[in-house]
Every structure is written in structure tokens, then in C-alpha cells.
Symmetry: C2
Subunit: 263 residues, 2 copies
């Protein structure tokens, strides 16, 4: 199976993109809803949680792991790669490559959680690939709770998005990386507020293409993956609100299974 | 020591009120910042976390425990009282008593997290003490992230508070219980939006009076409590933002100590 984990439900945008990009492949998802969110927590805590989440997926039969969470990808990728012996994908690099490829000028914007933005990982990776780049980033901590509250298209949400994006807009960025799995859900508002000349880079699409490409180059592993269209969705805590948000993202009825992270 | 725990930093409003009400008494606080918030999580998860938090405080030398978290108080009080053999205080009953005492008409409002409001505990306790009461409640899940973001007096915060309070305002409530430890920080905005005829019930003050009264009636325990003005602040995770919010609430410089919940 393809394993996907996130701090919560937002990473289902990545699972959804994987289903569209690799139809029929079995997927096992883990959302750490009992400890969500990760974006306001410290690097050490995010690393520990990411190691536990990966271990959980491997025990459920994952043969590759996609870290759908931007905060985990920013802070824990090397630790997870060092500990586990399967291919580990993160959502940062694919989005950076896509942004660099579609930007002819050098001004690139990034939005994310406080932990992701503070890590500086986007800026570092963009400059590795495009040394002349000017990177403008903004932490947008209220967008996750707004999405989880279901306020996708309220005036308050539009005001807050506008306020967060203003410092990027005045810099005339050409691409904007959505550096958090929840943000694709707000893409219509974000696109309107940042202006239609800006390319919106959705990391859920970028990482799915990356996985597809990798499997094309590794037929041994590809053959090993089951393709029965199974999708198992584990969470560390279940509430009605999590189920509602999950249905909204996946656009279908789903069954959440609760499981403990540690035995 | 007097032990106080909360899902995060918000419960420092209760620690602050205890310091004012019982000056000089030693206090040990635990904020479960590695798993915050509790208000969006399920009853089973909140109960487990509350038992672990209480156990942590007892190991640090607490002789009584104040559950500063409304969500924990709503869902876990009986479980914590059944497991541990020290006096356990919760923040719901003191606020309910204060609201009932100062309401001559029967319309009482309650605001809190989704988990607290869904538990129905305020409504049940108010009706036990005042059977003719009409209780109007509203879950306000965005207020905690707004406070933690430091947006105490932004136009967006005022709009959101107004929207949440509107259904209570039209019911002409006479008292409004702030059923979450973060809300006293928004008291000025809440008071303005709900109207000046409404009594605002702050559970941090109500529970502190309750503890003081209890100690007056139990001189044996009271004598056993150290009174060196020590305040120890433990958290399960440290970030710059937690420290900033803690300083804002306590109105002084503090040192956060990180410790693990389980050995």
C-alpha cells in the first residue's frame, strides 16, 4: 500500500490527488487527530510525532510513505528517512520544483503554518535551485482552524486571507506555494485575493506526480503495490467535525477507523 | 503545592486568579502544549489526557488539583476524581453557581469550545440549580486560535465575536458564562458585543474563590500547603509563541520548563 500521514485531516487533499493520479492503488492514511495541529508545535515534538506516524503506517503494510503534512516535511524528513528503509516522499521539494519551473521572474511567495515558515526550508530549497530568487513568506496560522470550522467562504475568512496575503501581493510575486495541506481547500479565495497573474502551486498535485514518476522508474516496487482500490483511513481520534471535514475534502462518504499510535 | 492543569497556556488565567486570591501559595502548573487543543477532540481522548495531566501534577508534589481546562472539566471530572485521592476542583460548577446567583431572570448564555458545548454540562448543571432556566449556548472554536495568534483587538476578531454572540444577544440573556480559559482575555470585546446589561461570568475568578473557601474549611490541608510564592510552569512542548502568550496572560516574565508527560 501507499502510506500517507498528516497531523490531521488536511492531508486528505494529498490522498485525493494520489487517487486521481494513480487510480486503483491501495492507500492507507493516518491522521494524528488526537495531537493535531503540528504547525504550532516545536521541531523536537514534530520529529517525534512524525517517526511514530511513519512506524504506524509501516505496521499497517505501507511500502512507501508520503508525508502529506508540510510541517512534518519541513522539520522531520531527514529523521524519518534515516530511520526507515522505504522510499519517503515529502511535499516541499515537489512544490519548490514546480514553482521554480513556472516562474520566469524571481519573486516567489510561500504561505504555511508558523512552524513551516519558521523552519525556512522553502526559502533554502528555492535558493538552491534558483540562486537569484527572492522569496517572500507569510505564516497564516488562522487558516487551518477556519477550514476545520467549515468557514470556507465567509466574509471573515476572506478578510483574513486578504490580510495575510497583502505583504506578498505588494512584492508582485509570480508564484505562490500553498505550503499547508489545508490551503488547497481555500484556493478560490486565495487566487482571488493574490490576483490572477500569480501561479498557485498546490503541493498535493506536485507530490502525486512525483510518486507516479518514481513508480514508473522502479517497476519492482510498483509491482509489489496492491491495486484493489482499497482506501483505509485511520485516525488517532474521531469526532463528528473530523468526519465532516474528511467528507468535504474527499467528496465522498468515508469510514474513519480509530487506532492507537503506540501499543 | 496547588496543582493546575490545562490543555495549553489559556489556563494561566486561572493560575493568575489563584495568585491574586491566595497570594504566596506555591503553584505548579502543567500545560499540555504538545497535544493542545483539547476542545476539538473526543471525550475518550480528553479523559485519557486529563488523567495523565493529573498524575503528572501529583508527581510534582501537588496536594490539590484545579482542572483549569473547561473541556477537561466538562468531560473528565468524574474520572479524575475516581482515580486520585486528593481534592479535585473543576471550573464548571463555580461559574454556574455565580451565574445562577446573579441572574434574576432565567435566560443564561454559555460560550465554549465545541467539546464543552456538545457535552451539555453547563445546561445540565444550571437546570439542576434553577429548573426554570433557559440556557442558550454557542460553540466558538475560532476564539482560541485568535487569542493564541495574539489578535486580541483586531477587526476580524471583533467581527467573529459579534457573529458568535448574535444568537445569544437576541435571546436577551442576563448572564454570559465564559466557558473557556482563553475567553477572559477577550472580555473587553465580548462585553462590548453582548451589551453592558449582561453579567460576564469569568470561571477563573469563580474557581479561585471556591478553592479559597475550601482551604478555609480544611485547615489541616491548608497548613500542609507551602507558601513560598513559588510558581513552576511545566509544559509538554515549548515554542516562542507559547512563551509570548504566557507572558501576556501572567503580565510578567516567566520561565517555561519542558517535561514529558509519561516516563
Amino acid at each position: 500500500m501507499i502510506g500517507v500521514f498528516d497531523s490531521g485531516i488536511g492531508g486528505l487533499t494529498v490522498a485525493r490527488a494520489l487517487m486521481d493520479c494513480l487510480p486503483g492503488y491501495d492507500i492507507v492514511y493516518f491522521g494524528d487527530t488526537a495531537r493535531t495541529p503540528y504547525g504550532s508545535k516545536s521541531p523536537g515534538t514534530v520529529i517525534n510525532y512524525s517517526l511514530e506516524d511513519s512506524d504506524f503506517l509501516l505496521k499497517k503494510g505501507a511500502k512507501i510513505i508520503v508525508m502529506a503534512c508540510n510541517t512534518a516535511s519541513s522539520l522531520a524528513t531527514q529523521h524519518v528517512q534515516a530511520k526507515f528503509d522505504v522510499p519517503i516522499f515529502e511535499v516541499i521539494t515537489p512544490a519548490v520544483e514546480m514553482a521554480v519551473n513556472c516562474s520566469s521572474t524571481s519573486a516567489i511567495g510561500v504561505i504555511g503554518t508558523r512552524a513551516t515558515i519558521n523552519s525556512g526550508v522553502y526559502e533554502r530549497l528555492i535558493k538552491e535551485k534558483m540562486p537569484e530568487a527572492r522569496v517572500f513568506s507569510a505564516a497564516c496560522p488562522l487558516l487551518v482552524p477556519l477550514v476545520e470550522e467549515g468557514w470556507m467562504n465567509r466574509p471573515e475568512t476572506r478578510m483574513i486571507v486578504k490580510k495575510y496575503l497583502h505583504p506578498l501581493k505588494v512584492r508582485k510575486i509570480q508564484s505562490l506555494i500553498l505550503g499547508c495541506t489545508h490551503y488547497p481547500i481555500l484556493k478560490p479565495i486565495i487566487a482571488r485575493k493574490i490576483g490572477k497573474r500569480v501561479n498557485i502551486i498546490d503541493s498535493s498535485l506536485a507530490v502525486s506526480e512525483k510518486v507516479k514518476d518514481y513508480l514508473g522508474r522502479h517497476p519492482g516496487l510498483e509491482k509489489d503495490l496492491d491495486k484493489n482500490g482499497v482506501f483505509r483511513l485511520f485516525v488517532s481520534d474521531i469526532t463528528a467535525q473530523f468526519e465532516k471535514t474528511a467528507r468535504h475534502i474527499l467528496r465522498k462518504n468515508i469510514v474513519l477507523e480509530r487506532d492507537r499510535i503506540k501499543d
